[in-house]
Amino acid sequence: MFIQQLMNGLVLGSTYALIALGYTMVYGIIELINFAHGEIYMFGAFAGLILVTVLKVPFFLAFFLAMALASLLGITVEYLAYRPLRRSTRLAALISAIGASIFLQNLALWRMGAQPYTFPSPFEPKVYQTAFFTISRVEIIILLFSFLLMIGLSLFIQKTKIGKAMRATAQDKDTASLMGININKIITITFAIGSALGAAAGVMVGIYFRTVTPSMGLMPGLKGFVAAVLGGIGNIPGAMMGGILLGITEVMGAAYISSQYRDAVAFALLIMVLLLKPTGLLGRPTQEKV
């Protein structure tokens, strides 16, 4: 039972981790809480759904196409709503992000209607039984894909030239720019990657829970953000860890405390961690000077 819950938590947590990565990457570079990220996740789920049901694209192709489309959306949002505000206060950028989020959610509500859509199961539903837990094929795919995406991202950030430029930009934008890094290009790439990961999470949650709605981005969006803060916002391994920790805590809380307080458990965990370690689990404390 316990191990079974642990597995469920891991599956849920890996989707949170993917969402949290989008938040944390953007935050690391421009110090903005990208509130529209939950809507990009929702957009990814809808893009995947439409590609699979209307255009009859095979699932795996649809998965990657949805990621590509969502990164286009992410770039557009950045270009229209965040870039003009680069030099203004952070609060103005935050409100702009909230505006973009409300806009996208209601755009989906307007075009798609409020009713939930059913995501067709892309595989034969098959359940594997092991000694300690059962796992379905969908869950294996989710785990596999999220871990591959996370490893891919880590390699990209650590090994490639663009990844190096991203790290430099996150450390110090002005100095990075003096070293010949095109900051705008890096920010665009960051939004593209973050949005693609969010969309991947959206499609996977779509095939996991089988429903897609225009308002599906709100809660996972908040929780992805919570996960990012848990791990220390701006910190990429932290976001992965925070996501998985959040997923496991939430499932455990639902199983052993009360399923009604499921969401409250996640937020209580956040507040407790912040009280003990105000910069998140892996975040480094910053020195402040006057």
Binding site: Y27, A81, L85, I95, G99, I102, L109, D263, I271, P278
Partner: protein, 295 residues
Amino acid sequence: MINPYYMQLIILVGINTIMAASLNLILGYTGQLSIGHAAFMSLGAYSSALVTLHFGFPFIISLLCGALFSAIFGVIIGIPTLKLKGDYLAIATLGFGEIVRIVCLNLDITGGAMGLRGIPKKTTLLWVVLAVLVTVFILNRIIKSRIGRALIAIREDETAADSMGINSTYYKILCFGVGAFFAGLGGGLFAHYMRFLHPKTFDFMKSIEHLCMVVLGGLGNMWGAFIGASILTVVPELLRSVADLRLLIYGAVLVLMMRLRPQGILGPQTDIAPAIEKIRLKFKSIWHRLARGKT
């Protein structure tokens, strides 16, 4: 007699002004980003409604009970969370807001998911106007006092304020408590006007709405709170004819607004008097030009 529809709008503008003004103290003057303000509103709304329903106290006493209950929670929440800075504080207040909502949704005494029904209608225009005046008066007195200067110093630079001998933790908690008090007052008025409470009313989007009112009107500006609250209450109503596109336009307006005038409609700390003076001079010059044109 005023048309009931306009009456409702005026009352909601009043309640939202109280909410925005109290958040303005926390966000605009003290610089603490709190995105859980609706939680304080819901604490005040539920507790004052329950006091009215169960004990039948006079309206003013239940309002004060709600406001005090909310203020106590503000202090309790403030003590641990105000150690956090910036976005970490924001997310902690967000988490607190969500916890309050989920608890209200699952308790029996709050009516759970069925909502709390049968609250007597006691809020009238007079009560709202009085409450707004009292709120704005007290908040203005606080801001113009020693406490207000300490709060502004904390907003400008907390470390510097600390080293000048300002006990920043104490002042931040004080400001949180006062902000929560007035948010609770707004909630009490809301409860006795709507006569029905549901946890969904006080969700994350409600907090965001309050935040937008403050930023739209102008941070650290009490007139701004009123203007922001009026606009964000009235404009969605004007957009009712395009029901489906209402929030779509709302979102787009927020983005555009931040792009065109990120400091809000009234800038920070501008008094309305110079603004009125400016408008008056403008009219005067137009008038003169017209007058000259005639002769």
